[in-house]
Amino acid sequence: MSDCFTCVVRNRAICASLETDELQLLGKLGRNRTIKRGETLLWEDDPAPVVANIIDGVLKLSVNLQDGREQIVSVMYASDFIGRPFGKESPYRVTAMTDAQVCVFTRSSFDNFAREHPDLQNKLLQRTLDELDRAREWMTLLGKKSATERIATLLIELSDRLSVDGCSPETLYLDRFELPMDRQQIADILGLTIETVSRQFTRIRKEGIIELPDRRTVIIRDRPRLKALAQVA
C-alpha cells in the first residue's frame, strides 16, 4: 500500500487528477518498491502482469531479440507511467539505470480502477498513446539517426525530464544537470559503442554547444544548436 499524499510526483504522475478519496483507494492497490541501480523490477510474489509509476530515478524498458541482444525500447523518468504491462513472461524487462523508487500495480487492478474513474481512464489512454509515440520515435532514432543526432536527442530529453522540483506540475528546462547514467549505459541506450559516445561528447563540447565540467555534469550553452543537431522539429 502506498502513501499517495506524500508522493513526490503527486502532481505530475498519471494519478494527478484523482481526488483525495479516490487516491486513498488507488493507494491501497499500489505497492511502493525501491530498486537499486541494475536491478530488474518485478513484483515477485504476484505472477500477474504489472504497470508502474516512477517516483524517482531513471529506468529502461527493453526487449530481448532472438540473438540474445537486448534492445532498449524506452528510457523513463520520474512521473512517467510504465503502461506497457511487464512481468509474467511478457517480453518487456524493466531495469533501473539508477537507484529508483516506483509504485507498482497489477494491470488488472489498475485497469479496473481506471474503468471506474473516467478522468484516470482518459489519462491512461493518453499515456498509452504517448508510449506508442515514443516507441515510434525511438525506432526512428535507432534506425535512422546518426550518432551525433542520437546523443543530441538524449541530451535534450534529459534536460527536459530531469527537473529539480519533483512536485511541480510544470517542466523546467535544465541548462545544467547530472547525467543519471554513465557512458556505457548511454552507449547501450543509443545503440552505439562507448568510443563513439565519448567521441561525440567531445565533438559537441568542442563546438561550444555544451560544457562538461566533470564526468557526470552537462551544461547546455546553446540549446537551439543542440536541438538542431538532434533534428528536433
Partner: protein, 464 residues
C-alpha cells in the same frame, strides 16, 4: 428514377419485379444467364482457397518459412479479434459474444504472447509496412487495449510508421476509440453497415440505427480519418430492390471513400447462427443478380469506380488509383492496394501467407490460448503452393483484380473450348494478346476465373 414506383411488398411481388428487373439489367448492360452462374464458386481471397487447407502443414512449416524470410522483407500483419458485443445472424466470420471482460483480457494476453513468440522467430527480419485489425469487432476491446496491442506490435517488430487499417462495429464506437485511432495513426477504417432497412435489420439480427453510422463517420472525419469503407450486403432476407436502393442512396449521401457490396451466402448447414435466418425469405437468384446490378448502377452513377466484382471506390481513393495503374491485389479482406506478399496472421483462425505456403491458426479460442501461452506456434493447418498452383493463382488474381490476363493463360485450361460459351455471349473477349472480361462479363468474373482453378476441375472430373 428507376424505382420510384416500386412496391414494398417484399421480394415476392413477381409481376412488378420481373419487369423492373429486366429493365434494370438492360440499363447496366448486364445480361442474366442463370446457367452460367449456377455453380457456386469461391470468392478467391486466396489461392488455393481455405477449403484446400489440411493438417499436413502446420507449426513446423511456419517456423521454417519464417526462418527463410530474407531480411528486410516487407510484411503485412493481420490481427484477429474474434469477439463482438452482439452476434449478427448472417455472419460467417470466426467470432463469439464478448461477454465478460476477463474473456477479452485473457485473449489479449494470448495475442501478446503470440506476438512475442513470432517476434523471436523472426529475429528482426522483415519490415512491417501494413497492420490490419479485423474480426469480429476490433472495437470490442477498449481503446487502451487497442493502443497497447499496437504498441506491442510496434516494439516487437520494429514497425516504424506502417499503414494501419481497422474494421469497426459502428454500434458502441466511442469518441475515445476515434481519438485512440487518430493518435495512433490509423489511416483506414471499415464499418459494418450491411443495410439501413429496419425490417431487413430485424431479419438478420443486426439492429443498427442510421444515427450510429452518421456519428461514427463524423467522429472519424473530425479526427482526420477519412479513408472509410462501408460493408453493404444484398441478397438479405426480406430485402427488396427498393430496400437496397434506399440503403445505397443513404450510403452515397455519407460519401464513404469505399463501398464493398457483398452478396449474402446462405449456408446454415455450415454456419450454425445462420439457421436463425428464414431461408424462405431470401431473394432468388434473379433478384440477387438484379440487386448486384442495381448496386453497380447506383454506385458508378454516383462517381464510384468499380473495382473487381464487389468493391467500389471514389476516384481519389488509393484503391481506385491502384486500379488505374494495374496495382490491385486480393487478400482475405478483399480487393486491396497492399502489394505485400508476406502476411503474418495473429489470433485464433488467422491466416498467414508466406512464399510457397498458406497457413491457418487454430480456430478454437481456448485451444489457441493454451498453445501460445505454452510458447507453441498456433498454426495447425495449411497448404503448400507449388509452381503450377502459383501460376494459376496469378491468373485468377489477374482476372479478378485487373479484369484481364495474358491470352497464353488459356494453356492452363482443362479444355481449349471451355471459354467459348463466355466468348459467344461477349462476357470475355480477346484484345491485344489478352483475355479481357467485358463490362457485361463483370458479374461472371469469378466463374470465369474458376475455369483456371485446378481444384474445382478436379472435383468435377471426379464427380463426372
Amino acid at each position: 428514377m428507376l424505382l420510384s414506383c416500386c412496391s414494398v411488398t417484399g421480394v415476392f411481388d413477381r409481376d412488378q419485379s420481373a419487369a423492373r428487373l429486366s429493365h434494370l439489367i438492360r440499363v447496366v448492360m448486364w445480361s442474366y444467364y442463370p446457367e452460367l452462374l449456377a455453380k457456386p464458386v469461391p470468392r478467391y481471397t486466396s489461392y488455393p482457397t481455405a477449403v484446400e487447407f489440411n493438417s499436413s502443414c502446420g507449426a513446423d512449416e511456419y517456423v521454417r518459412a519464417l526462418r527463410d524470410l530474407p531480411p528486410g522483407t516487407a510484411l503485412s500483419l493481420y490481427v484477429h479479434i474474434p469477439y463482438c458485443q452482439s452476434i449478427c445472424w448472417y455472419c460467417g466470420c470466426n467470432t463469439g459474444a464478448a461477454g465478460k471482460v476477463q474473456r477479452l483480457t485473457a485473449y489479449l494476453e494470448a495475442l501478446e504472447s503470440e506476438i512475442a513468440l513470432i517476434g523471436r522467430l523472426l529475429g528482426g527480419r522483415g519490415k512491417v509496412r501494413h497492420i490490419a485489425f479485423g474480426g469480429g469487432s476490433p472495437n470490442a476491446i477498449t481503446a487502451v487495449e487497442f493502443v497497447r496491442l499496437l504498441d506491442r506490435i510496434t516494439t516487437i517488430f520494429d514497425a516504424g510508421i506502417p499503414q494501419i487499417s481497422v474494421e469497426l462495429d459502428p454500434r458502441g464506437f466511442t469518441s475515445e476509440w476515434a481519438l485512440a485511432m487518430a493518435a495512433s495513426n490509423v489511416g483506414r477504417v471499415s464499418l459494418g453497415v450491411q443495410t439501413f432497412a429496419p425490417h431487413v435489420q430485424e431479419a438478420i439480427g443486426r439492429i443498427q440505427p442510421f444515427a450510429d453510422i452518421e456519428k461514427s463517420v463524423s467522429a472519424l472525419r473530425l479526427r482526420g480519418i477519412d479513408s472509410i469503407n462501408f460493408d453493404l450486403m444484398y441478397g438479405l432476407p426480406r430485402q427488396s430492390l427498393q430496400d437496397l436502393d434506399e440503403t445505397l442512396v443513404q450510403a452515397i449521401r455519407l460519401r464513404p471513400s469505399r463501398i464493398s457490396l457483398f452478396g449474402y451466402a446462405h449456408m446454415p448447414d455450415m454456419i450454425a447462427r445462420q439457421r436463425r435466418i428464414d431461408g424462405e425469405n431470401l431473394p432468388d437468384a434473379e433478384l440477387r443478380f438484379a440487386q448486384s446490378a442495381l448496386g453497380y448502377e447506383r454506385l458508378t452513377q454516383a462517381g464510384y469506380v468499380a473495382i473487381g466484382f464487389d468493391h467500389f471506390a471514389l476516384p481519389t481513393d488509393t484503391l481506385a488509383i491502384a486500379a488505374k495503374e494495374g496495382r490491385v491485389h486480393r487478400n482475405f479482406q478483399g480487393f486491396t492496394d497492399d502489394p505485400n506478399d508476406v502476411l503474418l496472421g495473429f489470433g485464433a483462425s488467422a491466416i498467414s501467407h508466406l512464399p510457397g505456403i498458406l497457413l491457418q491458426n487454430e480456430k478454437n479460442v481456448g485451444r489457441y490460448r493454451s498453445m501460445v501461452s505454452s510458447d507453441q506456434v498456433a498454426t495447425v493447418r495449411g497448404v503448400g503452393i507449388d509452381e503450377e498452383t502459383r501460376k494459376r493463382g496469378a491468373i485468377i488474381s489477374s482476372l479478378l483484380c485487373q479484369g484481364q490476363v495474358d491470352a497464353g493463360a488459356s494453356r492452363m485450361l482443362p479444355q481449349a473450348d471451355i471459354l467459348d460459351i463466355f466468348e459467344e455471349k461477349e462476357l470475355i473477349c480477346r484484345r491485344d494478346g489478352k483475355l479481357v472480361i467485358t463490362e457485361a462479363g463483370r458479374p461472371y468474373a469469378r466463374h470465369i476465373a474458376s475455369l483456371f482453378d485446378q481444384f474445382r476441375t478436379q472435383q468435377e472430373t471426379a464427380a463426372a
